[in-house]
Amino acid sequence: MLDAIETILTVIFSCLTLLTGVGFVIFRQPVYAALSFTATVLMATVLYILQEAAYLAAATMVIYACATIIIFLFVLMFAQHSNLQSYELKYSNLGPAVVASTALVMLLTYAIMTRENTQSGIAFLPMPPQPLATSGQPSAGDTAQPTETAANAEPAPLPGPDMSVAALGRVTYTRYLWTIELAGTLLLVAACGAIMIAQRETSGSKSTGVSS
């Protein structure tokens, strides 16, 4: 019963994600495009929740769909002319771009479908079921389990609590500590860089900015 509900929700929100994503490409008006990007990210967030990534869903909602998009919209309002410009009315390279991206999506979808058909525990690097949270049984036999249907059929390799927020925090600050520290350093450097770029522009070329 719960599985059925989860499946239905996943299908619905996948369709919504794709629909709003198509809207992102179709809308000419940049503000509408940005808003439908927000909608796409929010729908994908629901998919995160369905995949037991609750913390990431919240983080994505806050960081992406609120902070980043608000800043984007702010810059858009700051720099956007009231009516549509000529460069927004027509797409550039529409034919080759559509062909290329359609080919890419078809290729990826084909790869995903073949992955299901060919029992691709071999195709992808098989991971031990619980390598992180506890001591982790090595389980050489479990790696031979072929598809995700087998993983879904028996709930033992994917227990609920191990994908929880607490488990993510534990893993983040033990095993992936250096990754997180690196990400923090990257944020600091990027903030410094952004301030540098903005500051030099305001102090150095105020006169040219006014004259142009």
Partner: protein
């Protein structure tokens, strides 16, 4: 179920790529990049859930961080570029591209490549980068003003 999510992630990546290639508004091009990143994140989460590995979620956390950094830097750059030229059109900055070929040569080359398709595999036809130590801005008239402009601004 995982397959559906992987396909949705691939489609989001394709949508982002399509937007990046077709849009000419700087801000929307960066939004398309973010869309591609969101598709990849969905893939990471689906695979992490499939294999019961939290490494995928940690990687998505890293992607979020990188996306935030990218947005900050890109937006400050966009504001700087907008102050310089007063437009969000990316074609305004076309003069920054490599310039060993003239416009006519370049359009001929592009037309030839598009019409020939896969037959023209001789790499001698491809545009060349500027040799090291030479001024890359070699366009006669338009480049004069714009390079002076840039130097003046710097």
């Amino acid at each position: 179920m995982t397959n559906l999510l992987l396909a949705v992630g691939a489609a989001m990546f394709g949508i982002g790529m399509l937007g990046f290639l077709t849009r000419r508004n700087l801000i929307l091009m960066f939004l398309s990049l973010e869309m591609m990143l969101a598709g990849v994140s969905l893939n990471f989460i689906a695979f992490g859930h499939l294999y019961g590995d939290l490494g995928g979620q940690v990687f998505v956390l890293l992607i979020l961080t990188v996306a935030a950094c990218e947005a900050a830097l890109a937006l400050s750059l966009i504001v700087a570029l907008y102050r310089s030229r007063g437009s969000l059109d990316i074609n305004v900055w076309q003069s920054l591209r490599e310039s060993t070929l003239s416009d006519e040569e370049r359009s001929e080359l592009m037309a030839g490549q598009l019409s020939d398709g896969e037959e023209s595999t001789s790499y001698g036809d491809l545009p060349k980068l500027t040799p090291a130590g030479r001024d890359p801005m070699q366009f006669p008239a338009a480049m004069e003003t714009s390079s002076r402009d840039l130097i003046h601004k710097a």
